[in-house]
Chain length 596, copies 2
Amino acid sequence: MPIYQAPTRDTKFILNEVLRLESFAHLPGFESATTDLTDAVIEEAARFCEEVAAPLNLSGDAEGCTRHPDGSVSTPAGFREAFGKYREGGWGALSVPEAQGGQGLPHVMGFVFEEYLAAANQSFAMYPGLTNGAIAAITVAGSDTLKAKYLPKMVAGEWLGTMNLTEPHCGTDLGLIRTRAVPQLDGSYAITGTKIFISAGEHDLTDNIIHLVLAKTPGAPKSSKGISLFLVPKVMVNEDGTLGARNAVSCGAIEHKMGIHGNATCVMNYDGATGWMVGPENKGLAAMFVMMNAARLGVGLQGVAQGEVAYQNGASYAKERRQGRALTGSADPTQKADPLIVHPDVRRMLMDAKATIEGLRALALWLGLQVDLAHAAATAEERAAADDMIGLLTPVIKGYGSDRGYAVATDMQQIWGGHGYIVENGMDQFVRDARIAMIYEGANGVQAMDLVGRKLGGNGGRAIAAFFAEVDAECAGAPEGLTAIAGKVAKANGELKAATLWLMQNAQGHPNNAGAGAYAYMTITGIVALGLMWLRMGKVAAAGLASGEGDKAFYEAKLITARYYAERFLPDAGALRRKIEAGAEAMMALPAEAFG
Amino acid sequence: MPIYQAPTRDTKFILNEVLRLESFAHLPGFESATTDLTDAVIEEAARFCEEVAAPLNLSGDAEGCTRHPDGSVSTPAGFREAFGKYREGGWGALSVPEAQGGQGLPHVMGFVFEEYLAAANQSFAMYPGLTNGAIAAITVAGSDTLKAKYLPKMVAGEWLGTMNLTEPHCGTDLGLIRTRAVPQLDGSYAITGTKIFISAGEHDLTDNIIHLVLAKTPGAPKSSKGISLFLVPKVMVNEDGTLGARNAVSCGAIEHKMGIHGNATCVMNYDGATGWMVGPENKGLAAMFVMMNAARLGVGLQGVAQGEVAYQNGASYAKERRQGRALTGSADPTQKADPLIVHPDVRRMLMDAKATIEGLRALALWLGLQVDLAHAAATAEERAAADDMIGLLTPVIKGYGSDRGYAVATDMQQIWGGHGYIVENGMDQFVRDARIAMIYEGANGVQAMDLVGRKLGGNGGRAIAAFFAEVDAECAGAPEGLTAIAGKVAKANGELKAATLWLMQNAQGHPNNAGAGAYAYMTITGIVALGLMWLRMGKVAAAGLASGEGDKAFYEAKLITARYYAERFLPDAGALRRKIEAGAEAMMALPAEAFG
């Protein structure tokens, strides 16, 4: 069975040494987040994910979910018990304020747990996975009545939330949705329509499920300007908080998918189900985006997570499996063959994985900290700066993070050779599970367009300018020993600046030039952002080594990996810039009939 | 259900206009290969693959193979009937000389059919897939008795062949194999051991299966210098050619795999099975390499094939599915949304696919022609030159071809969004099936080492020098209108030359530098080789347009795609060269404990 050990050492390095969480102790929400406490939470999180969630991953994939004739859905064996422990542990409410019944830790701690849980068992993680986003959307836009009735149970993990956007004929283009919401005399709405691809739409983990559903009221404007958001419980909730009758919403089918077999992906039928509007009429997308942005960051973390667990199993096999001899002579003459890890091309895949995953983790946790700072920083400027960075880099961590997670999972499967193709060894599950992260919560091409079409120019390009400045400052301030790496990061940042300039000059009148370059632009941004992270980690590691204290081998590995990243990833920035500058002409020239 | 239409127009373009097959009519083996005949064979091949093999692809994936308690194996419904038609059509012996009972067409025609069949149904294609290689190995190294007894039935498709190398503890490192072959008084050998991952090791398509098995004779040298090759029939063959008793070889299990579910991947148990040596003792690898080289070219074709069929289904969805509006304004205001194909990022994936697949097809068929020329060209020099090019580019078409096939399949699944993740739509099968081509017949990292460690320096670097010269000549001779593309190809070729020089200067004393750069080197070579192909195709298309005859839209698409390839693929060569020049230092610096 595949292994999983939560990377607690790396997490603590990032939180304590790179982000220096304790330095924010004066801010609201950080008061209790001492290193002692966060370290203890990290260890507890690791234990839960390793001991409870991970052992159900392979079996959950094999068994999948079962929909019964009455529309009820059974999750794989063990999931229900595991979820009981999750609820008891209060894991769902780690970053929910204490006033709301949560644990009141910073959001960045929620990110840590999200990564571990998705690595241990992505299908399991997806059951509670959207609930925090639903809580956030209801908190921001819901009426006091809705908040009082639903939030405490959701925070407690007694009820879970879902997100209902997609319909058979529309996913990305939400303006086309057909689900109708007809107002009733009591202020509720009767919701009718079919939603598909609803993760955890039905299951046996909780007594109730709280669906957040996009629908159109009668006479609403066509297009996405006429969409409202509704809260639709699976089971009606009485005034006293007890459960009442079943609502007219049911699971019509569960999908057969490439991966995440342990999660029930449901077709949800709304047959005049009772729902309540969340936020103003026709402004449902704004509230839903609160939920979606959280989900997109979560999907980025899934990329890190699937990459990490695949990497651990790739590394373990590379150290155990013996095949061939080192090019430099037998590394272990007492044995008939050397371990795979002596071979440079196996190393290449392991180092690619290590550089990617540790870099993405640093980026994700840094963004997690920005989520906290966007709420809690002392000045409006700081809060806006944090918010800018979240907006700019959410599509990047989602898109680039999930792309890289899939690539790493594929490489780690490759290390296993033919044995990686055999289902029982679990390596193919990492690839199949990682694949969905590139698709859902906005396909990665949509993320790229969000970055280039919306985030780049917002507020006069303030966010990207701040990002450039941050990278430049880090490069300029690089200590001796890191100047070579800093030079390569600065060069890649220069490519990103050139690509930005090109888009500014060539995409205004020719929007297809923006579309044609968007994906490459998202990728360069990811490459540079990880360069920034490696520079920061390298700096901390160098200082640690100079101090003579701490974990020498760990710091040395960070420095080597920073160098490897600079040598092996940053060169792509130039090639990508040239692709962007090629523009849309050849890409768009052919008539549709020329394809296929 | 997914569609598949064999790309006959493109095949004919390559054979008739780019390779100009008729110009070789004076050579032995080409006499009958008139355009009339080859065009007719192409159409017949398309019909068989579209009408017989393709309809069983999705159902074969869903059903898989079944091993019964007696060790027999049932293939998916319809496979047996389809194979009957395959045998009747003589498809297995297309390129086998008429003297041996085949159809006597050039090998390149066999390549055409291999691509179509693997695209239509890779699992099905793999049943007869290794038989031609087995025929070649027996023809080259087998005794006259073995040839007379086995080849006619194999050529006729009545018996199929398999390749038995891998054992549980060794795949790439064949020196470690443990299967024993003990000589018997009658000149046969008793073979004992376990082989795994044996494609089509057992099935119900034919009465007999001819296994080619690597084993060690008593006292054979350890290492790969002590391996012999044996022919082991599933059912003993009497002197009169009728079938006798079952041999002591049986299928112990079939694997559960990520993909190619319709093909039975078997654990084969040899319990003192009777076999006959093929070729000299301890020289079994040489004979097996005849088979393996054919198999590697076939795997490269699988990359083309899975990319092609995925592309067709990606393109068809992009033209039908409506979502969002073109960035330049509604492309189809009569509908509520425009088709996906108006979006540049969808186009990007389609153009990437088109440029990749058509380029790889040209490369594969050019290599197929080299296989013919290596046998039939008029002079020893020409034959050696063809052989050099096959040796050099076999690892490239296998490694780069399968990498790109997987990438294209993944992109085409991406176009389908969430619907691409649903098994019934078939897009995920293309990804899962394409994945194996990167692993089997020598994992792609092994191909890269074969290229850099063996092929590059062979005969004083004669092959790569010839390749450089061929690219340079094509660039120098580019007509007006193609000079921009030629300039980019020449630049990429320059990067490849620089990388070659760096390896010559830095890998001799430091072999890890070769290992560290091998994969990137293989990839640049693939990129440049496709650049060469696009230049050639572009040249023919430009001439066709100038002539005013032929299919104008087709030629225009070729020219646009050549330009797109140059703009969007060739820039990577420089980035890859820089990665090679980074060397092995950072890659190999960390101790094994630093991983995982």
